[in-house]
C-alpha cells in the first residue's frame, strides 16, 4: 500500500512551488489576451511562395500597419495581429501584400472583434465564471451534506480545484510570454471544462473516503482517507490516461483553431489527476487532525 497521505508534505511542497511560480509569472507577464477579449483583428495568411518574416514586416509597414505583430505559423503561413480593421481595409491589405510580395495568398483566415463585442465578452465571461463557481460550490456542499462536516469537504474540494485552475492559468501566462500563446474564449471554455472534470475527480475520491467512513474502516481518519485514495488510484489514473490519449492525439494532430481549448484540457486534466490523489484528501486529513504544520514543508519533521 502506498502511503499517499503520509507523504502529504511532499505533495504540498510540489504544489506550493508550482503555484508560487505560477503567481509570479502571472504577476510579471500577465496573460496575452486574444481578440475575443481585447478587440482587434487576427489574420492567418497562407502564401503560395515562401515569404521571409522581415519582408512581410516591411510590406505591412509600407501599407501603414507598423504596429502589426507577426508570428510564423508553419510553411508559408503567418499569424498577424492588428488593431481592428474593416472589411474594405482587409481586402486592400490582402491585395497590397499580394502585389508587394509578388505571390498569391492561397488561404486566409480572419478574426476581427470590435471593442463593443470584446467588452461584452469580458463582462459575460466574468458572469459565466461567477455563476459556474457559485453553482459548483452549492453543488459540492449539497453532495457532501451527509458528511459529518460538509463545509470542510466542500472547502477542501474547492481548494484542490483552485490549485488546478491556478496551474492552468499560470501555464498559459508562461506560454504567452515564451510562445505568444493567446487567451481566447475557447481558453475560458477549456478552463470551465477543467473545472467540471476536476470536481469530478475530487468527488470520486471523496465518495470513496465517505464510503470508508460509513463502513468504519478505521477509527484513524488518516487511514480511512488513505484507503479511499488508494482505492481511487486505479480509476483516476486509468480514466485520466484514457482521456489524455485522445487529448494528446488531438493536440498533436488537431487544428490550430482549438489549440487553446485542447491545451487547457491537457494541463487541467493532468493536474486534476494529481490534485485529486495528492492534495484534496490530504487537505481533509490536515484539517481533521489539525496538523496545520504539515502545510509548511520546513516543519514536517515535527509534524
Amino acid at each position: 500500500m502506498i502511503d499517499f497521505v503520509g507523504r502529504k508534505h511532499w505533495f504540498f511542497l510540489i504544489s506550493a512551488i508550482l503555484i508560487i511560480s505560477g503567481i509570479i509569472s502571472l504577476a510579471v507577464f500577465g496573460l496575452r489576451w486574444g481578440v475575443d477579449f481585447s478587440s482587434g483583428t487576427a489574420i492567418t495568411l497562407h502564401f503560395e511562395k515562401e515569404v521571409e518574416l522581415g519582408q512581410l514586416r516591411q510590406e505591412l509597414a509600407d501599407l501603414g500597419y507598423d504596429s502589426a505583430s507577426i508570428q510564423p505559423a508553419g510553411e508559408g503561413e503567418f499569424f498577424i495581429r492588428l488593431p481592428q480593421i474593416s472589411s474594405d481595409e482587409y481586402t486592400q491589405l490582402k491585395q497590397g501584400l499580394e502585389s508587394g510580395l509578388d505571390t498569391k495568398i492561397t488561404d486566409s483566415s480572419l478574426y476581427t472583434v470590435s471593442p463593443i463585442i470584446a467588452a461584452e465578452t469580458v463582462r459575460n465571461t466574468v458572469i459565466a465564471v461567477a455563476i459556474a463557481s457559485i453553482g459548483i460550490l452549492l453543488y459540492i456542499s449539497w453532495a457532501f451534506r451527509k458528511m459529518p462536516k460538509p463545509i470542510r469537504w466542500g472547502i477542501c474540494a474547492v481548494l484542490a480545484l483552485l490549485h488546478d485552475l491556478v496551474i492552468v492559468i499560470a501555464i498559459f501566462s508562461i506560454l504567452g510570454w515564451a510562445a505568444g500563446m493567446e487567451v481566447d474564449a475557447l481558453f475560458v471554455t477549456g478552463v470551465l471544462a477543467v473545472v467540471g472534470v476536476s470536481v469530478n475527480n475530487i468527488v470520486v475520491v471523496f465518495d470513496r473516503i465517505r464510503e470508508n467512513l460509513k463502513r468504519g474502516v478505521s477509527s484513524d481518519f488518516e487511514i480511512v482517507a488513505n484507503c479511499g485514495i488508494m482505492e481511487s488510484v486505479g480509476r483516476s489514473l486509468n480514466t485520466g490516461l484514457a482521456t489524455l490519449f485522445v487529448i494528446v492525439a488531438l493536440y498533436l494532430l488537431g487544428g490550430v483553431t482549438i489549440r487553446t481549448l485542447i491545451l487547457a484540457l491537457l494541463v487541467g486534466i493532468t493536474t486534476g489527476i494529481y490534485s485529486s490523489l495528492c492534495i484534496a484528501g490530504q487537505l481533509l486529513v490536515v484539517w481533521e487532525k489539525e496538523e496545520w504544520s504539515a502545510l509548511l514543508p520546513w516543519a514536517k519533521r515535527t509534524a
Binding site: T44, H46, S87, T91, D107, S108, S109, L110, T112, S114, I116, I117, A119, E120, T121, N124, T125, I127, A128, I131, A132, I136, Y139, A143, A185, L186, V188, T189, L192, A193, G196, V197, V199, N200, N201, V203, V204, D207, E231, G234, R235, N238, T239, L241, A242, T243, V246, I247, A249, L250, L252, L253, G254, G255, V256, T257, I258, L261, I262, L265
Partner: protein, 437 residues
C-alpha cells in the same frame, strides 16, 4: 439469465442498429446527408452587424424591425447562392446585433456588399429598346417639388399586409403610399394603363401585374404566393421601406483548406485515441474491458445519432466536447470495472460482484457528472450571448455526450456484463483483470 435481461439486450441491439442507420452518411436525416459542418470545418465566414434602430418606424417594435432585417439578409444571401446560411438576432443592453454565418463562401467580399445594403423595392416599366427587346426601367415621375423622381420603396408606408382577394381567392399584398408616393404612382399608372408594371425587390422581379386603372394612394402586389410567403414578403417590404442601417462590428473567416485540414486531422486524432483506449481497456480489464468497449461503441453510435437527429452542427470544438464526453464515458466504465475487480478480490461470486459494482459506483458517476452539466449550461449561455459558435459547439456536444454516457453505463454496460456472466463464457476472476487470486 435474469428475467428481462434478454429483452433489454434485444432493445440495445435494435437501438444500436437504428443509431448506425441514422449515422450512416448516405441516409438523409432532416434534410441532410452526413453531418452538417460548422464554419471551422467547412470554411466560410461569420459576420456580426450592429443594427441602428434609432431611425425605425415607431409603430414597429424593435423585434419586428430586426426580424425584417433578418429576412432581408436571408433573401439576399439565398439569392447569392449560399447553402444553409445562419442568421441570428441578438439583443441585449448593448444594442441589437445581427449575426450571419455563410458557410463555404469563397469570395466573401462580394457577399459582404450584398448584406451591407439596405433592402430596395422599386417599380419598373417596360421599355422597348433597339431591336425590339423589352427591358425593365425604373419608373420615374415628376414629384411635388417639380423634380423627376424614381418610384422606390422609400415612398411606401411600412404597413404592407397580406390578404385574400375575394374575387380570385389568391393571396395578395396590400400596400399604401405616402403622399409623395401617391403623386408619383398616379402619373405612372396613367401612362402605363393596360401595360405591365414590374415590381422588383433587390433587383428581382416579384410580379408584373397589368395596370387596369389609374391608382393613387394604394395598391396590391399579386403573385403566386402562399400566405406564409406573402407574410414574409410583407415583412421584407416593411423593413425595406424602413432604414435600418447595419454596421459590421465583427467578422470571422475560416479558410476553406484550413477547415478541411482540421476535419481530417481531428478525425485521425479521434481514431488513434479511440484505438488506444480500446487497446488499453482490453489489456487492463480483459473481459470487462471488452464489454466496456462494446458499450462505448454503442454509446458512440447513439451519441452521433442524437447529434444528427437534433441536428447538432459539428464544429472542431464540438468534436473536442464529444471526445471529452467519451473520456467521461470511459470514466464511468472504469469505475464499474474497478469495482468489479475489487468485489471479486473480496471473494464475491461473479453475479453478485456485477450487481454490486453498479450499485456502488452509481453515486460517484452521478455526483461527478453534475458539475460537468453545470459547466456546460453556463458555457452554452456564454457562447450564445456573443455568438461564439465554437463555445456553443463544445458545450452542446459535451452535455449531450455526458448525459448519454450515463445512460449507456447504467443500461448498456450492465446488460452486457450480465449476459457475459450468465453465459458462463468467462468464469475466472483473472478474466476480469484480477491478478492476485
Amino acid at each position: 439469465m435474469k428475467k428481462g435481461s434478454t429483452g433489454l439486450l434485444i432493445f440495445i441491439i435494435i437501438l444500436f442498429g437504428i443509431s448506425l442507420w441514422v449515422v450512416w452518411p448516405n441516409n438523409e436525416i432532416r434534410g441532410h446527408t452526413g453531418f452538417p459542418l460548422g464554419l471551422d470545418l467547412k470554411g466560410g465566414s461569420q459576420l456580426v452587424y450592429s443594427a441602428n434602430l434609432s431611425g425605425k418606424d415607431p409603430s414597429q417594435t424593435d423585434a419586428q424591425a430586426l426580424e425584417g432585417v433578418k429576412q432581408t439578409i436571408e433573401r439576399r444571401v439565398n439569392a447569392y447562392g449560399v447553402s444553409e446560411p445562419t442568421i441570428q438576432i441578438m439583443q441585449n443592453e448593448q444594442g441589437s446585433f445581427i449575426l450571419v454565418q455563410l458557410p463555404g463562401v469563397k469570395n466573401i467580399d462580394e457577399a459582404l456588399k450584398l448584406i451591407g445594403q439596405v433592402a430596395e423595392l422599386d417599380f419598373r416599366e417596360q421599355v422597348v429598346g433597339q431591336g425590339g427587346n423589352t427591358t425593365w426601367v425604373i419608373a420615374k415621375a415628376i414629384g411635388s417639388s417639380g423634380q423627376e423622381e424614381e418610384l422606390t420603396g422609400k415612398y411606401l408606408k411600412p404597413n404592407a399586409t397580406p390578404r385574400m382577394n375575394p374575387n380570385t381567392n389568391k393571396i395578395e399584398i396590400a400596400f399604401e403610399w405616402i403622399t409623395e408616393g401617391a403623386v408619383l404612382f398616379k402619373q405612372i399608372t396613367t401612362r402605363n394603363l393596360n401595360k405591365p408594371l414590374g415590381i422588383f425587390l433587390d433587383n428581382e422581379l416579384i410580379s408584373a401585374p397589368k395596370v387596369e386603372a389609374v391608382i393613387e394612394a394604394q395598391g396590391v402586389i399579386e403573385g403566386d404566393f402562399s400566405l406564409e410567403e406573402a407574410k414574409t414578403l410583407a415583412i421584407q417590404l416593411n423593413s425595406g421601406a424602413l432604414n435600418v442601417p447595419l454596421t459590421e462590428i465583427g467578422r470571422r473567416d475560416i479558410g476553406a483548406t484550413l477547415g478541411a485540414d482540421s476535419l481530417k486531422k481531428s478525425l485521425l486524432a479521434g481514431i488513434i485515441g479511440g484505438a488506444l483506449i480500446i487497446l488499453f481497456m482490453i489489456i487492463y480489464y480483459r473481459v470487462s474491458g471488452l464489454v466496456a468497449c462494446l458499450a462505448l461503441l454503442v454509446y458512440a453510435a447513439l451519441t452521433m445519432a442524437v447529434f444528427r437527429l437534433i441536428p447538432v452542427v459539428l464544429t472542431l470544438s464540438g468534436i473536442a466536447g464529444f471526445i471529452v464526453s467519451v473520456g467521461m464515458g470511459v470514466d464511468g466504465n472504469v469505475l464499474v470495472c474497478e469495482r468489479l475487480k475489487e468485489e471479486l478480490r473480496h471473494g464475491s461470486t461473479l453475479q453478485r460482484a456485477v450487481e454490486q459494482s453498479f450499485t456502488q459506483s452509481w453515486s460517484a458517476i452521478w455526483d461527478s457528472n453534475v458539475t460537468v452539466f453545470i459547466a456546460c449550461a453556463v458555457l452554452y449561455w456564454l457562447g450564445k450571448t456573443f455568438g461564439n459558435f465554437t463555445v456553443v459547439g463544445f458545450a452542446t456536444t459535451l452535455f449531450i455526450g455526458v448525459a448519454l454516457s450515463m445512460f449507456t453505463q447504467v443500461v448498456v454496460t450492465r446488460a452486457f456484463l450480465r449476459t457475459v456472466v450468465s453465459s458462463g463464457l468467462a468464469k475466472s476472476p483473472r478474466a476480469y483483470g484480477v491478478l492476485e487470486a
